[in-house]
Symmetry: C2
Subunit: 238 residues, 2 copies
C-alpha cells in the first residue's frame, strides 16, 4: 500500500489500481537539412546517462495534450509546436520502478522560427538524426519508431510539412523535406504538379538571394485556405 497525492479521493481510489501516467513526445525538427529527433539525457537511474524521449508525469488537473506542451516547454524551451497523439504504451514492466502508462505524441518544432531557448543549450538535450540514434531508455526506441511511422503516414495526407519550414520557403526546399521524411526520391515535375493541384501553396514575387545559381522563388502555405478545404472534406495528397 502506498500513499499518493490524490485530492479527488473517493471510494474508487481504494478499490482500483492507480498507475503512474506520463506523456512522452517524439519531437521532430529540420536541422541542417536533416530530420532530427530531440532527446534528453537522463541524469538519474534507472537508465542513468541514457538518452530518452522528453516527457513526464501528468498533473492531476491537466489535460493530456497540455501535459505534453508543458513538459516540452519545461525540458526544451519550445513553446510553439504541432502535437498529435499517436499511441499509448502500458506493458507492465516497461518502467522498472513501477507501473507507468505513457501516452505518446509526436511533435514538430519549427527550428527556423523558434530557436531553442536557454534550457536546450544545456548539455543534456540534443538533436539526433533519425538514422543515427543512440540506444534509448525504457521502450523509447519502439515509441520513437512508431512515432516516425506516424509522421511518415500523416505527412502524405495532411499538410504537416509546413510546420518544419519558415513562412517563406522554396519548392526545392519543400521537396527535399518530403524526400527526407519519406526516404524516397520524388520527381520534380510531378511533385510540383501535385502540389499545384492542392492549391494551398502560393508563389511570391520574391526570390532567394545569395546563391550561385538561378534563385528559387519563395512560396507560402495558405493555411486558412487549407483549413477551409479540409472542412469540406478535401484531402491533401503528395
Amino acid at each position: 500500500m502506498t500513499v499518493v497525492e490524490n485530492d479527488n479521493s473517493d471510494l474508487y481510489s481504494y478499490k482500483y489500481p492507480h498507475p503512474a501516467v506520463t506523456v512522452d513526445c517524439v519531437v521532430f525538427g529540420l536541422d541542417d537539412g536533416a530530420l532530427k529527433v530531440l532527446l534528453i539525457k537522463r541524469l538519474d537511474p534507472p537508465f542513468e546517462d541514457s538518452w530518452a524521449l522528453p516527457g513526464g508525469f501528468i498533473k492531476m488537473d491537466e489535460d493530456l495534450q497540455d501535459a505534453a506542451f508543458r513538459e516540452l516547454r519545461e525540458e526544451t524551451g519550445v513553446a510553439q509546436l504541432y502535437l498529435e497523439q499517436f499511441h499509448t504504451y502500458g506493458r507492465p514492466g516497461r518502467d522498472p520502478r513501477e507501473r507507468v502508462i505513457t501516452i505518446a505524441y509526436f511533435a514538430i518544432v519549427n527550428l527556423f522560427e523558434h530557436k531553442l531557448s536557454a534550457s536546450t543549450d544545456a548539455k543534456d538535450v540534443a538533436w539526433f538524426p533519425v538514422d543515427g540514434l543512440p540506444a534509448l531508455a525504457f521502450d523509447h526506441g519502439e515509441i520513437l519508431r512508431d512515432g516516425l511511422a506516424a509522421l511518415q503516414y500523416k505527412v502524405r495526407r495532411v499538410p504537416l510539412v509546413f510546420e518544419f519550414l519558415p513562412q517563406k520557403f522554396t519548392l526545392p526546399q519543400l521537396q527535399q523535406l518530403y524526400e527526407t521524411i519519406l526516404r524516397e526520391a520524388l520527381d520534380k515535375r510531378n511533385f510540383r504538379k501535385k502540389l499545384a493541384a492542392t492549391g494551398v501553396v502560393d508563389a511570391l514575387e520574391e526570390h532567394q538571394t545569395g546563391v550561385s545559381h538561378r534563385a528559387a522563388r519563395y512560396h507560402v502555405f495558405h493555411r486558412e485556405l487549407w483549413e477551409k478545404k479540409a472542412e469540406e472534406g478535401e484531402e491533401f495528397k503528395i
Copy 2:
C-alpha cells in the same frame, strides 16, 4: 491524500499523481444486417441507468490490450474478437468521481460464430444500431464516434470486414457489409473487380440454399495469403 492498492511502491509513488486508468471498447457487430454497437447499462451512479461503453479499470500487472480482452469477456462473454487501440482520452472532469484516463479500443465481434453467452442475456447489455444510439454516460458518445471513424478508415485499407462474417459468406453479403459500414453505395461489378484484385477471397463450389432466387456462391477469406502479402507491404484497397 489517498491510500491506494499499489504494490510497486517506491519514491515515485509519493512524488507524482496517480490517476485511475481504464480501457473502454467500442464493440461492433453485424446483427440482422445492421452495424451495431454493444452497450452496457450502468447500474450505479454516476450516470445511473445510462448506457455506456463496456470497459473497466486495468489491473496493475496486466497489459492494456489484455485488460480490454478481460473486460469484454467479463461483461459480455465475448472471447474471440479483433481489438485495436485508437485513442486515449484524459480530459480532467470526464469522470465526475476522480481523474480517470481511458485508453479506447475498437473491437469486432463475429456474431455468426460466437453467439453472446450468458452474461449478455442479462437485461443490461444490448446491441444498438449506430444510427440509433441513446445518450451515453461520460464522454462515451465522443469515444464511440471516434471509434466508428477509426473503423471506417481502417476497413478500407485492411481486410477487417471478414471479422464480422461467417467463414463462408457470399459476395452480396460482403458488399452489403461494406455499404453498411461506409454508408455509401458501391457498384457491384467494380466492387468484385477490386476484390478479385486483392486475391485474398476464394470462391467455393458450394452455393447458398433456401433463397427464392438464384443462389449465391460461397466464398472464404484466405487469411494466410493476406498475412503473407501484408508482410510484403502489399495494401488492401476497396
